[in-house]
């Protein structure tokens, strides 16, 4: 029983959607040896997804209409309370603060991180000696557990830490904010860490995509007299379009799931003054710390629909531009 959606479902659906569509196959009868083998092979995955994603979601949906609690005194019965949990969530100003923070974070992080990822991917796609070293360096943050790097960043972002020492040098001492203690800078600090920590993942996906663009296209473009920018605009971008869209979507979903950093890094989870409180923090705080499983479940359901809506809208908008293939 988990009031917290892992978000695995959305990501899995996205991965499936982003893989190239296969040519339609002939209709076959349902129970050939092949289909049975197919089902057998997918059974472990199906069972795991059913147990850990579908079932918890159905339970969360059910709990969201009850006053279920994590622990109850003996004799207390769980009651059906209709939409009370939802009403309570929507009437809670902290929910709207959390949602606003999520949106702010996504609006800044998604374009910025995708841009950096593409920039780094192009940098490390050069045919230079030792470029593997740089690929490894940019990818290393991904291999560190977020919680661990968050703890280290707390030290780096200390008002007298390394980051401020750097800013003080380049601004002649005019800029040294209390990154995690000042509500005005807390989200900026979190954004900085988040991009550092996960840009390598997007970079690797885009790097693979870049290497898939045939060299012959660049040769043809150069023969036509295209300069570097024109090659990038008319050969590279169309060539990596699908992976780029995948990166955009997955970054959006991951941005909405912002949790580890804002739980660990500020003075208190989501602090200071709720400046970094996100929906995930709200869900964990409500469902686990406050033990209000019913209200936490309502939050999870709302969260899922928000992420789903954002993803659908994003895909619709992008698809209208037409497929280039």
């Amino acid at each position: 029983m988990s009031a917290i959606p892992s978000g695995g479902a959305e990501v899995a659906a996205e991965v499936a959607a982003a893989t190239p569509i296969r040519p339609p196959q002939k209709q076959r009868s349902r129970f050939t040896a092949d289909t049975v083998t197919g089902w057998l092979f997918s059974a472990p995955a199906i069972i795991l997804i059913a147990c850990f994603i579908i079932l918890p979601f159905i339970l969360a949906f059910y709990f969201s209409f009850t006053n279920e609690r994590l622990l109850s005194p003996p004799g207390r019965e769980t009651q059906w309370i209709g939409f009370d949990n939802y009403a309570r969530v929507f009437n809670n100003p902290r929910f709207w603060t959390a949602l606003t923070n999520n949106i702010t974070f996504s609006i800044v992080v998604v374009p910025l991180q995708t841009f950096f990822a593409l920039f780094l991917a192009i940098l490390v796609n050069q045919k230079l000696r030792g470029v593997v070293v740089f690929r490894t360096i940019f990818f290393i943050p991904i291999t560190v557990v977020m919680a661990a790097s968050a703890v280290i960043w707390v030290v780096l972002l200390n008002p007298q830490g390394l980051i401020n020492a750097f800013f003080e040098i380049i601004t002649f001492g005019n800029f040294s904010p209390d990154w995690l203690g000042d509500p005005a800078y807390a989200m900026a600090g979190i954004i900085m860490v988040s991009i550092w920590a996960s840009v390598g993942f997007q970079m690797v996906i885009l790097l693979a995509a870049l290497q898939d663009v045939p060299e012959s296209l660049y040769e043809a473009a150069r023969l036509d007299g295209a300069n570097n920018w024109q090659q990038f605009r008319n050969v590279t971008l169309p060539g990596i379009r699908n992976p780029l869209l995948f990166v955009l979507t997955i970054t959006t979903i991951l941005a909405f799931r912002l949790f580890d950093q804002v739980w660990i890094m500020p003075d208190r989870p989501g602090g200071p003054l709720d400046a970094t409180r996100t929906l995930m923090v709200d869900i964990v705080d409500t469902g686990l710390n406050q033990q209000a499983v019913g209200r936490g479940s309502a939050l999870s359901v709302i969260f899922l629909f928000i992420v789903l809506a954002v993803t659908i809208v994003q895909r619709r908008l992008v698809k209208q531009e037409g497929e280039i293939k």
């Binding site: 006053n67 609690r69 994590l70 622990l71 109850s72 005194p73 003996p74 207390r76 030290v155 200390n158 008002p159 007298q160 203690g181 000042d182 509500p183 003075d267 208190r268 989870p269 602090g271 200071p272 003054l273 709720d274 686990l288 710390n289 406050q290 033990q291 209000a292």
Partner: protein, 467 residues
Amino acid sequence: MTHSRTSRQVALMATVALAGTAFAAAPAAAQDDANVCDGVIDGPVTLEMTMHTGSNPGAEMETVDAFNAGPGAELGVTIDVIPIGEQAYETAITSAAAAGEMPDLVDMDGPSLYPFAFNGLLSPITSCVDQEKLDYFLGSIIEQGTYNDELYSLGSFESGMGIWAHKSMLEDIGARIPTSIDDAWTGDEFEQVMRDLQAAGYGANGPLDIKWHYGAGEWRAYGFAPIIQSAGGDLIDRSTMKGSDGVLNGPEAVGALNQFQTWVDDGLIDLIAEDDNNFTVGPDGEANTGDETPLSWVGHWMHSLYSENLGDDLVLIPLPDFGNGSKGAMGSWNWAVSSGPDGVPNSGDEADLDAAWAFIDYATSPESVLRFVNGYGAVPPTADLADFPGFQEGGDRELYIDYLSNAHSDPNLEQNGSMARPATAAYLFIRDRFSEAFADIVAGADVQSTLDNIVMQIDQEIEDVGY
């Protein structure tokens, strides 16, 4: 200063003792009942116990090992420890309870006990303890372990709060140095001392260390609720235990926290320190060079580090009096017995209470208490202080005993002494809200509206859950 118990504590202990004899007087029901101490351990048994691992878990582990090797081996009782980190301790136990995996024994931080008792996850030990054992403890330990007139836990040590100071620095600025809880600085006097220290150049990041790096959770409620209590406010309305309106957001609490907020704004509070070293060694990494933070607002657990580094220059000062007396804090980790893995009382899966009690009895024996007092600098939980010179009259930590022996739970009472954390199942909720609000106030939030907001949440929660 007398070290006798207050009448309230005596009355409380008498209640517990009476309840104990009532249980003992029902012999028929006591036979073969795992939930009642019948004085017979039913057979060789291994009990699982969750235990917090703090920065120095030595004394707890030594106690368990000594029990397993000594009295435990004789009685056929073995304790199997499940260590859990201090930061998420309550969450871990809550999850275990929700999953039907409660251990047999639990180690609880002060009032965390009450929500677990409320939810039926603990078995009372009222039937195990006799009058002699009750008399052996300070009243505060019995008070901490009592919920709904049943005794649920006993602790191996008490705690104490105060301000550690560099005596030489205070003398340098000509400050009056209070020596007992009855001549504590007033809030304004304390502010002046800090301003003078700041003006004299002591403490690069502010003259007062408040262990901000401990983070959210128990410390901020334990350490800073005394501020509002000293002003006449409280965490909950103790006359009803049903809400906090008017006490947590009343003019007294708001006034004291407003004053505290100005100290933060004026740079009197060190919020930057990342460890405990700012008080002892300062930025140059050397002790006794005058660049250390002059004051440290913290509990007894810093005594050994501080006294090793400062020696005779270390002095313990009572917390300031914001108008209604100097209030300390009290209570600490305590041992309780679970109502079995499923967390349902009387369901038949409980461990033999006599076996569990054998451990608690040993863990609170003079032999064990010595480990905690010597190992952690903890405050002895016992009424008799003969073995503990530091806590006797004239000792360097006599102050802690003064706070505890004048303990009370009436915020309107103008009396110097510790106030117990409220014995309500809503404690963890209140603690988390207060800790959050305190952090927000330090970050510059409006005090009145921040407190109004958490009071609304607390009152709503108490109504929802029916605490």
